[in-house]
Symmetry: C2
Subunit: 366 residues, 2 copies
């Protein structure tokens, strides 16, 4: 194998596949990246057997071939290379040489035949969605997933395809986020599947250009996302997601409208007294057009008052402040609404003038 | 006590004294900040008994007094306050109230009489130096200090006052940095003292305005630095600093001149192979106008060639790459020189056209 590449293209490739490199040391080959020349392009691949990422960049091919290099060191080398043309060439079956300017680095390589082949998925279900829309959906959904690996289903995002809609739902059983987006083309109607949240987060990171289209292909067990020159393959989570529809209240006794920024800052300050109290609790009291947030701990106590628009009965309720801040931080909208049914019923947070997002948060007993 | 302050001034004060707050939990009062009204100003003080910092800001005084608050929580509160006027008022002997807009926070306080008094130093030796020059000196000196508390002397910087010069020297016994600066006024001629490196680093951080003058007052055991509205007090390190003059070579067999940036980047890349070898070693070979840096480990090997100006005999020598990068990163000069006396003798690195800085680095046997 021999090719000439720009530093920029090499860096793009190694960075794109980085998150699929195994960080565990159980199998050395999974801590590596495979580089392969095919059709005038250099393909980077990495997989930890949970996620696989492949990416290609243009290079000047002198001789075809493939190599497997330790990901960590190859990334460090590429990151520090000068901004010039880089020649990479096989010296023998377990060594490459990286040449630039007046210098050269010889790096040990591993056997290419040991590197796992990424599954070539041509799923029966296929759909496409704007990359920008998908990125925004992922941002507003993944934060509400559980990180507790003992309940793996809740570390994933339920995706439902209905008419031209892709609906994503996440929950850690204390709160639930739901977001809808528009499918451009699709043959997956009526289908539902569960994708690990960390794969979606990585996908969002890989979307650099909002103009792109993301193609999703599904088999019974696997999902493949293609965006421009990058492919992400992952295993779907198996199991029955709970019926989320029955927990979302269909009516409310009080609806308020508030400035997202005002509520966020007030909760941030008052929560200083919640960090040390029992369950990260802040109390919320709504009377007429005044929302009072308060908290106390052995350090002291505090309250903040925020002016709101309100319609309905007064309420006193308590929430985990982290679950409030989590959603405030992903809302780009200037105003939000919260619907209440009582002190012991969930609150429903929505952006104003946007029915595509909903966040349900369970109250805590204070 | 009652006063009205801007958020900006409160934040300046708590930030300035932060590094003197104890992070150990042995004595609760040392994890606190004292706030005191004196002469229309609010004084912030903190000390962990090794370093004491005091700072004052203008406030609107309504009633004099003093309080002691938990540093961590007070800092968090101040950081998150809105950009408006803040009223702070004593409620009773162990509680204050912080009021802003429509909100208020009540914070528990501690007894002011338990807070250690910062020593009031009127030293017999006094000198002043430009804050900008002092900051630059500290940057180029402290990195070569030891961090090994078992040899406390080397965690300090030797300061020697001679004529109108302040000379700072640091060493961890593997390398030595020496920097000279100009004293504006001084009565400390012929005096030498050792200041803990971490105090100097903190002092450099506190110098925001390069136009300022730093006043230093010394007693036998204590140093006090005053810069504008900030005072830093610390204990001097006791002991006999080794005679550094005798280790600095007075002649050389080879002197080279190289571009600082080129050498830095070459060492950064080649050192990737040094991280896993015996002693972080890179080899340097100089012949005519070519400097070759090389290294090897079980991952592979590499070399880089850098064009230099050179005058003298060829040399092959090996250094710990970290000690090279450390000094390259604090040199602001485009070119540097290195003087060699042989493979087993120290190298001397200096900026070109600047005789105020010198860095000695011991070779390693390769």
């Amino acid at each position: 194998m021999k090719f000439i590449a720009t530093k920029e293209n090499l860096l793009f490739g190694v960075s794109a596949v980085q998150k699929a490199v195994s960080t565990k040391n159980t199998l050395q080959i999974l801590t590596c990246i495979k580089l392969e020349i095919q059709d005038d392009k250099l393909y980077f691949s990495a997989t930890d057997l949970e996620i696989g990422i492949q990416c290609n960049v243009p290079v000047e091919v002198i001789e075809e071939g493939a190599i497997v290099v330790p990901a960590k060191y190859f990334f460090e080398i590429v990151r520090k290379l000068p901004d010039s043309l880089i020649t990479i060439e096989t010296v023998n079956e377990n060594e490459i040489v990286i040449k630039y300017e007046n210098s050269q680095l010889n790096l040990k390589t591993l056997a290419t035949e040991d590197f796992p082949k990424l599954p070539d998925v041509q799923g029966e279900y296929q759909l496409s969605i704007s990359a920008a829309e998908l990125k925004q959906m992922i941002k507003q959904i993944v934060f509400a997933c559980s990180v507790d690996e003992r309940r793996p289903l809740f570390t994933g995002v339920l995706c439902e395809v209905e008419k031209n809609n892709l609906r994503m739902i996440s929950t850690d059983t204390h709160r639930l986020a739901l977001k809808e987006g528009k499918i451009e083309k699709g043959s997956a109607k009526g289908h539902s599947f569960i994708i690990p949240a960390k794969i979606l987060s990585e996908l969002a990171r890989l979307i650099q250009n909002d103009e792109e289209i993301c193609y999703l292909s599904l088999t019974k067990n696997l999902a493949t996302f293609s965006i421009d020159n990058i492919i992400v393959v992952c295993r779907l989570l198996e199991g029955q997601f709970p019926n989320y529809r029955q927990v979302i209240p269909t009516k409310y006794n009080l609806k308020i409208k508030a400035k997202t920024k005002h509520l966020t800052e007030a909760v941030e300050r008052i929560s200083l007294f919640s960090v040390n109290n029992n369950s990260n609790t802040v109390k919320i009291k709504i009377e007429n057009n005044l929302l009072t947030i308060s908290s106390q701990s052995e350090l002291g106590q505090g309250y903040e008052q925020v002016y709101i628009e309100s319609d309905g009965e007064p309420v006193e309720i308590a929430f985990n402040y982290r679950y409030l801040l989590d959603v405030f931080r992903v809302l780009d909208d200037e105003f939000l609404t919260i619907e209440f049914t009582g002190s012991l019923s969930p609150g429903i947070i929505r952006p104003v003038d946007n029915d595509k997002f909903l966040y349900l948060i369970l109250p805590v007993r204070s």
